[in-house]
Amino acid sequence: MTTNVLAKDIPQKKHAEPFRVESMNADAPEMQLVRRMAANDPAALEELYSLYGQRLYAYAVRLTGDPARAEDVVQDCLVAAWKAARRFRGEGRVIAWLLSIVHHTALKSLRRPTYEISEAMQETLPAADAPLEEQAQRSQQAHRLREGMQNLSPEHRAVLELVFYQGMSMEECAQICRCPVGTVKSRLNYAKAALRGVLTRAGINGEDVK
């Protein structure tokens, strides 16, 4: 395999905006939405949700592993964003600000001891006894990776999701998780080692990881 092939395979900005910490352009459409929320325009919240709802929900599911709880988290995030809209200065991207709210709401929700594991959550736990058809459909490697990611802590899953789905830079990850950039990098390294360990134990070596 050559490097050129590797480079060619990588999609550009398919799921994400560019990796850069940048100040929000005051005229950007999403910034206008935040302004309208600050001015008590309910339609702006609905537009914000139709723009970012999918990404916020995906992040909440990734962190909580529970669709029902993820719904509550996103709803709480929208309420919090509405209340904080006046204070948002546009020092980062709106999506990074929203993800940051989801991040802390989700982690807080996970710390709540009375929250029992729901049926939906049990379905998403590492499923050694998942239906055979499903297992057959997924490659062994993908299945192991999925299991490996579910076994990571929410903080490690958060960094993977932020980088590979949400298109956040290291600096934005650090802002969202409220930790130093070095911690984001060390979480990525830890996740890499853990996932490689899962694949190695399953007899899938590095050569097969494609």
Partner: protein, 303 residues
């Protein structure tokens, strides 16, 4: 940090498609010569694919924005309840919802205290009856089982604690003003009665007995609350009655006599009674919040 480490650190962003052209070229050049970074990149690409595949099956639930807006409005309504205009509106709405008999019953009982005091020139009558009138009124504040107020749909949701406080202010305030007027009138007719002594004689006991009855009514219902609080009030008069009727308390064991006298003494400690009143009110507010959270019609029990 050497070149390999720098490039290796950029691999997640490279796999996610987030580097600028210059960085991409640098990473690509390094990948040509580094098997370790190639293996790492392959792992990151697999992770990216897995995450994106999983997320592609998710659909953000419809209606979450509307649910959030409903929550926002509900919280805003709760907050605005504490604004003066809204409080005034709430007070007015509760006046008609308090059971009508309460106003007349309180006035009659305090009026009786006034008349007997006039007749006997003994201030004990007013001081004994006024707390009973207030306690009976306050114990009837929370009666969801036969409360006409349940039928009233308030335009905005109001916390059950606030409704209880507003009603308490109305009913207790009414009894307070009536007893105050009766006291003023008595001291104007009988200048020998010191006004401050008259007030001190009923204010603290009336407050405590009312708050006690309120808290008890939430635990054991209206009727039992009145029974218990009235008994608590009457029991403290035993030593005084025994003195008056020359009943020898001494025939009881010493500890019983001490207990009865100690209990009666408690009711003559205004500071202690006010502190206990505050505790009973706090307990009542906590209880009403809990009761209302357990009942499905949580916003409607009062009105």
């Amino acid at each position: 940090m050497n070149q390999h480490e720098r490039m290796n650190e950029l691999l997640p962003a490279y796999a996610a498609g987030g580097l600028d052209d210059k960085q991409r070229r640098q990473v690509a050049a390094h990948l040509n010569q580094c098997a370790e970074c190639q293996a790492d990149l392959e792992l990151w690409q697999a992770v990216r694919t897995e995450i994106q595949t999983e997320n592609s099956t998710l659909r953000a639930p419809a209606g979450l924005a509307n649910a959030a807006l409903a929550k926002i409005h509900s919280e805003a309504a709760q907050r605005s309840a504490w604004q003066p205009a809204r409080l005034w509106q709430l007070l007015k709405s509760q006046v008609v919802l308090v059971q009508k008999e309460l106003w007349a019953a309180s006035a009659i009982m305090i009026g009786m205290g006034f008349v007997i005091t006039m007749d006997t020139q003994n201030i004990n009558a007013l001081q004994t009856l006024a707390p009973l009138a207030a306690a009976a009124g306050v114990a009837a504040l929370y009666r969801p089982e036969d409360d006409a107020a349940r039928e009233l749909a308030m335009s905005t949701p109001t916390s059950p604690r606030l409704v209880l406080l507003v009603r308490l202010a109305l009913v207790f305030g009414y009894d307070l003003i009536l007893t105050l007027l009766a006291s003023l009138w008595l001291t104007s007719i009988f200048p020998a009665i010191p006004f401050s002594q008259l007030i001190l004689g009923w204010l603290a006991p009336m407050t405590f007995l009312s708050m006690l009855a309120l808290a008890l009514s939430l635990v054991m219902g209206h009727d039992n609350a009145i029974l218990v609080s009235y008994s608590a009030w009457i029991f403290q008069h035993i030593p005084a009655l025994a003195d008056e009727k020359s009943v020898p308390l001494m025939q009881f064991p010493q500890w019983v006599v001490q207990l009865v006298e100690g209990y009666a003494h408690l009711w003559s400690q205004p500071t202690l009674l006010f502190a206990l009143s505050a505790a009973a009110l706090a307990a009542a507010l906590w209880l009403v919040g809990n009761i209302e959270m357990r009942t499905p019609r949580s916003q409607e029990s009062f009105g």
